[in-house]
């Protein structure tokens, strides 16, 4: 069978198997994307009333537009559902495996198909493909851009490839925040690496069209940056400069003397903070043992890649510098630039923001596999042993992903709000008011956006539920103040965390309880009557 078809089928299996069951619950981001997509599809405006926006305002955040519009198309085909919401990213994630295989083929790597297999099964990409993460779309367009750029370099005059490349790279910037950093730097690296090939091409034939394409994508972006907080707000919200523990050490212009000004200035301190974050990504434990954060610290987990990938990556790494000059330079660029966007953000070792790094590892995999075959005459035995290890590792990943991860982290994934929303909508006529709390959690305190879950599962508008005076609905977002509310609302239903009710609470008023997957109580349904 065609190798590309096999890669695609494997990628589809890893992404579409029980798609709506794992991750265990719809996250806040997913419902927010779903609601915005539905509003766009039905009315042409988002939930804030903006006509076909280029940045979707959410609560305290702006979402890049590509994911929302793709979800709207998915709704047009399948109707609004959890599957239809997760479908576009899962499909694009599967296609990314094909694109990476094609890049490896274009770079003339012997076992090019191995890059596709790597992406098809690697936990780093599989998980984020299953949960509507825009980073997957960004990576797909970045990969397409890279593929067509190399195709353009390899062709004599097919400038169509350059136009596709520029369009895809630009779309990548529109698809996810971290590509706003990664793509410009990668583009400069590509120009440097392939400068001789670029110079040899007849510039008159393509420069004007290329500038037009760039302008088409860049001008709205610049306009958005200048006129709205959509771009700057996100950068400010995630920057490591928000870390109070670090910023408190900065002098902010108040130096005690020349020595401090020269040897301990803020530029130096910022550089030191950033460099620590950068080097921290080159951590074998993050890569092969614990990086996906599916389990709490100290618990056995899984790296962004399988532990079984380690020997292949090590072999690939050892042969990286023996590749042709431009391939070698491209690999080095992807190696050092890949984690860069993530290093500017506040979190340490963030697998989602560093997803662009996966390009390097995907291209390293076929090099490592080729070297594994060369290492020994009895390479069949080596490969068979490695395959057994990999299968075992995949089984372990399945266990972690489908049993341990949901069990431990059902609360951060907002587990319960779907049932809460459905119950509230089905039973709202039995009460004068239904109140749902936005605060929940058993061991930790979480805040959610129940109005978006209500909008998603009940087909309402999210802001209908945030105004207690609204006559269109009787379901509202409000934490219980039991001592006051029990008298103020004579026929109401409160849905909230157990700790939101007094300690001496009359438990006979509880008509239903929900539980997190670790068995702890998540929500009580309490009647006032």
């Amino acid at each position: 069978m065609n190798k590309l078809l096999i890669i695609f089928i494997i990628a589809l299996v890893f992404r579409f198997w029980n798609l709506t069951s794992f991750p265990v619950h719809f996250s806040m981001d997913e419902v927010a994307v779903g609601v915005a997509a539905r509003e766009i599809l039905n009315k042409g405006v988002d939930e804030w009333g903006q006509h076909l926006p280029l940045a979707f305002e959410s609560v305290g955040d702006y979402k890049p537009p590509v994911n929302v519009y793709l979800t709207a198309i998915s709704y047009a085909i399948f109707g609004m559902s959890e599957f239809a919401t997760r479908f576009p990213v899962a499909l694009i994630g599967s296609l990314t495996a094909l694109v990476l295989a094609l890049i490896a083929r274009e770079l003339k790597l012997t076992y090019w198909w191995f890059a596709g297999i790597f992406i098809a099964i690697v936990p780093w990409h599989v998980h984020f493909s299953r949960a509507t993460f825009g980073a997957i779309i960004g990576l797909f367009f970045a990969s397409v851009g890279l593929l067509y750029f190399i195709k353009w370099i390899n062709s004599k005059s097919a400038h169509r490839n350059l136009y596709i490349s520029l369009s895809a790279l630009s779309l990548s910037v529109w698809a996810y925040h971290s590509y706003r950093v990664f793509i410009p730097i990668l583009s400069l690296a590509l120009i440097y690496i392939y400068k001789r090939d670029i110079v040899q091409k007849n510039a008159k034939q393509y420069v004007f069209k290329a500038i037009c394409i760039l302008a088409f994508f860049a001008i709205p972006f610049i306009f958005l940056t200048i006129t709205t907080p959509a771009i700057s707000e996100r950068a400010a919200a995630t920057s490591f400069m928000r870390d109070a523990a670090f910023t408190n050490n900065l002098h902010k212009g108040n130096y005690t003397g020349v020595v401090e000004y020269i040897f301990d200035n803020d530029m130096y301190l910022i550089f030191r903070e950033w460099s620590g974050k950068y080097i921290n990504y080159f951590d074998p434990r993050f890569l092969f043992w614990k990086g996906m954060q599916f389990t709490p610290p100290n618990f056995p987990g899984i790296g962004v890649m399988y532990a079984a990938s380690f020997p292949i990556m090590l072999l690939g790494f050892s042969r990286m510098l023996t590749q042709k000059k431009q391939t070698r330079q491209l690999l080095l660029a992807l190696l050092f630039l890949g984690p860069l966007p993530a290093t500017f953000s506040i979190n340490e070792q963030h697998p989602l923001r560093s997803l662009s790094w996966i390009l390097f590892f995907a291209l390293l995999a076929p090099i490592g596999f080729a070297y594994l075959k060369k290492l020994n005459k009895k390479y069949h035995i080596l490969i068979a042993a490695w395959m057994i290890l990999l299968v075992f590792n995949i089984a372990y990943f399945k266990n972690i992903y489908t049993i341990q991860f949901p069990n431990v982290y059902s609360a951060p994934w907002q587990y319960g709000y779907e049932q809460v929303s459905r119950y509230a909508c089905q039973n709202k006529d039995n009460y004068d008011q239904v109140f749902i709390s936005e605060s929940f959690g058993a061991d930790e305190y979480f805040t959610s956006l129940p109005q978006y879950y209500l909008a998603f599962y009940c087909g309402t508008h999210p802001f209908d539920h945030t105004n207690l005076q609204n006559k269109n609905t009787n379901i509202f977002i409000k934490r219980p103040l039991w001592e006051v509310d029990k008298d103020n609302y004579k026929n109401a239903l409160f849905i909230a965390a157990p700790w939101d009710f007094p300690e001496d609470f009359d438990t006979s008023k509880i008509i239903k309880k929900l539980y997190f997957l670790d068995g702890k109580e998540s929500f009580w349904f309490v009647e006032t009557k």
Binding site: V259, E260, F263, D264, Y268, F271, R272, S275, G276, Y278, I279, N280, F282, D283, P284, R285, F288, W289, T295, P296, N298, F299, P300, A307, L314, F317, S318, R319, M320, L321, T322, L332, L335, F336, Y396, N399, I403, Q404, N407
Partner: protein
């Protein structure tokens, strides 16, 4: 060391996961041993030698290291391409030994620092070495005056 592994908080977490998944052999025996092995390798992670404060060397190392880090990575790749089994075996023995016997951690650290920086400096471009020296001087002076 084995007793330490099997009574650690990690092992308690393993026991919990075994209870959930029901996989006794893997979660009870294999996974803790693998984790111990990863801990041993973790001892040599670049972040430790190129950024974190090391007791014997202090954080003087850290900024020199950031500049040298890419050349260390490139140097490692070159070293691996002519696989020097003896060096790899010595390193692995040192790492495992440092993990088992904390008293030799200091010696192992110094040996690893020497190896790491030798690799990085070897692959640093010759024509920019003056700049590197100026930079190192800056960091050393900084350590003295701050």
């Amino acid at each position: 060391m084995i007793n330490q592994i099997f009574t650690s908080p990690y092992m308690q977490a393993v026991e919990y996961m075994r209870f959930i998944s029901g996989s006794r052999i893997f979660y009870n025996k294999l996974l803790p041993l693998l984790n111990a092995f990863v801990d041993a390798i973790q001892f040599a992670r670049p972040h430790r030698f190129f950024y974190e404060s090391l007791p014997p060397i202090t954080h003087t190392v850290e900024l020199v290291a950031v500049i040298l880090f890419p050349f260390f990575i490139i140097g490692c790749s070159k070293l691996l391409s002519n696989i020097n089994y003896r060096l790899v075996i010595i390193l692995m023995i040192l790492l495992v030994a440092a993990f088992i016997f904390p008293m030799i951690e200091l010696i192992t650290t110094i040996i690893l620092v020497a190896i790491y920086y030798k690799i990085a400096l070897t692959h640093f471009p010759r024509k920019h070495r003056k700049l590197l020296l100026i930079y190192i001087a800056f960091i050393v002076v900084r350590e003295i005056v701050i």
